[in-house]
């Protein structure tokens, strides 16, 4: 079943992706098809099964508290669409 326009708009807003008026129905239809595919999961009982976020039961190795990085600001800032005075620029952030 197609995902309704309102839901598509909500998802697009959360994901910050502009979707044009013309394509929104098509996007909703396709999302509906994918959700129909994944809805097959509902058919199986998973009671008491622990969710598995990682394929291997490994634990984290921690890093020693050492400064290993040096200042590479100019290299990184060179990649930015807009920067000035060592800062990345964006349209004004309003709180």
């Amino acid at each position: 079943m197609a995902v309704d326009t309102q839901t598509v708009e909500k998802l697009a807003e959360l994901a910050r992706i502009a979707i044009s008026e013309e394509t929104i129905d098509e996007v909703g239809n396709r999302l509906g098809e994918v959700l129909q595919l994944v809805d097959q999961l509902q058919a199986v009982s998973t009671e008491g099964v622990a969710p598995m976020a990682h394929p291997l039961d490994e634990v984290q190795v921690l890093r020693a508290d050492e400064i290993t990085e040096s200042n590479r600001r100019e290299e990184f800032l060179a990649l930015a669409p807009q920067s000035e005075g060592g800062l990345y620029l964006v349209p004004k952030v309003i709180d």
Binding site: D65, N71, L77, V93
Partner: protein, 488 residues
Amino acid sequence: MEWEIVIGLEVHVQLATKSKLFSGASTRFGAAPNTQACAVDLAMPGTLPVPNEEAFRHAVMFGLAMNAEIGRRSVFERKNYFYPDLPKGYQTTQLAQPIVGPGEIEIHLEDGSSKKVRLHHAHLEEDAGKSLHETIFETHGHGMSGIDLNRAGTPLIEIVSEPDMRSAAEAVAYLKKIHSIVTYLGISDGDMSQGSMRCDANVSVRLKGEEKLGTRAEIKNINSFRFVEKAIVVEAQRQIDLIEDGGSVVQETRLYDSDKNETRSMRSKEVANDYRYFPCPDLLPVELSEDYVETVRSRLPELPDAKYARFQSEYSLSAYDADQLTQERAVADYFETVAKESGEPKLAANWVMGELAALLNREELPIERSPVSAEQLAGLIARITDNTISSKIAKQVFEAMAAGEGDADAVIEKRGLKQVSDTGAIEKMVDEVIAASPAQVENYRKAEEAKRPKMMGYFVGQIMKASKGQANPQMINKILKEKLDALL
């Protein structure tokens, strides 16, 4: 109607690690913009986080100091939202399995009473960068914000209390207790003015006796102890007025405006918050062994509560003095040095809370940068107890020491403030005053015996004046009495 205020605090504390929570970039405060933002902090494509062991050690120390359960298995999750100071588009934080579980601490109130406040949990997370709105950018004019990501990735612990506080004063006492614990542990500088410690307050009101909690408002980012108190007071009053006028409180985020002393709604941040937390697939569960936790426990420094108890028993201080002197580890250490070196804990306490506190307050200095060192203050107290100077002169000497004139002995020597205890010199001064005051001597002679001691005050005053305050008062009294009584 009698209202009850209910407060829970969320306190963010920056940890004093050298490097960031997930990268090897420096956390030093005040560097030029973006010079301490490495590829990981900038969320460059393909970069991955590796957690800092020291941040975990700090969090465990904190948990132990809060008498809390330690999360032996903790899991990082992603909290998703877009903001320019959040490079990855998610904050790596902990939710379901935090490093510190429920705990409890005791806070001490002004009236000498104590109260328990429960800790809900504390979790590790990364700080965001900073947006700078004020700068005008040459190439793009105003209408732009600049983003500095030096702070992005700095380790934080977020400490979430239960809604156990019932007044602004209790909230401040709790916050001060947290401040004192983190600074005692050395896991944070706790500097609120630099943002090392920040506080959000959840405030609600209800009629006294009501069990159900009222709707709460969250006041974000309050940056001083004083503002926490004021923000809670005005917010609680706003809610009470609202309800008494027939309105109801809306659950929302508010901002405290210290200029106007009011809170106001931050509606822009309320838009469709759905953080879509899920376990961070780039990080594995962190498991800490029992041994690890016990080793950290065995290396904990003495904590405020233990010091508070010990100062009362070991130095016979009052509960109030002990509380005042143990709130900050640096103050406690300073006091203890003065007390030990001078052997006079009571005098030490009076001086530290009196003259020294006034000086530091006046000069706006932390005790670590006191112009008078603990050793110097102990030296001054020693000169009081060995009668080299009087307490009154000591204040003068202290001011000179604060002005950088050297330690107590040097100031006393240079200014010639040494107390006169030479019998001959004092006898001479007594004789001169008696000779110059025939009328007062006559009155003394005629007076009843019981009134005479009081009448000696005039003579003592004159002698002190003649000696510029430096004559030993006990000796003046003794010699004067002998000489006056000889005239009877």
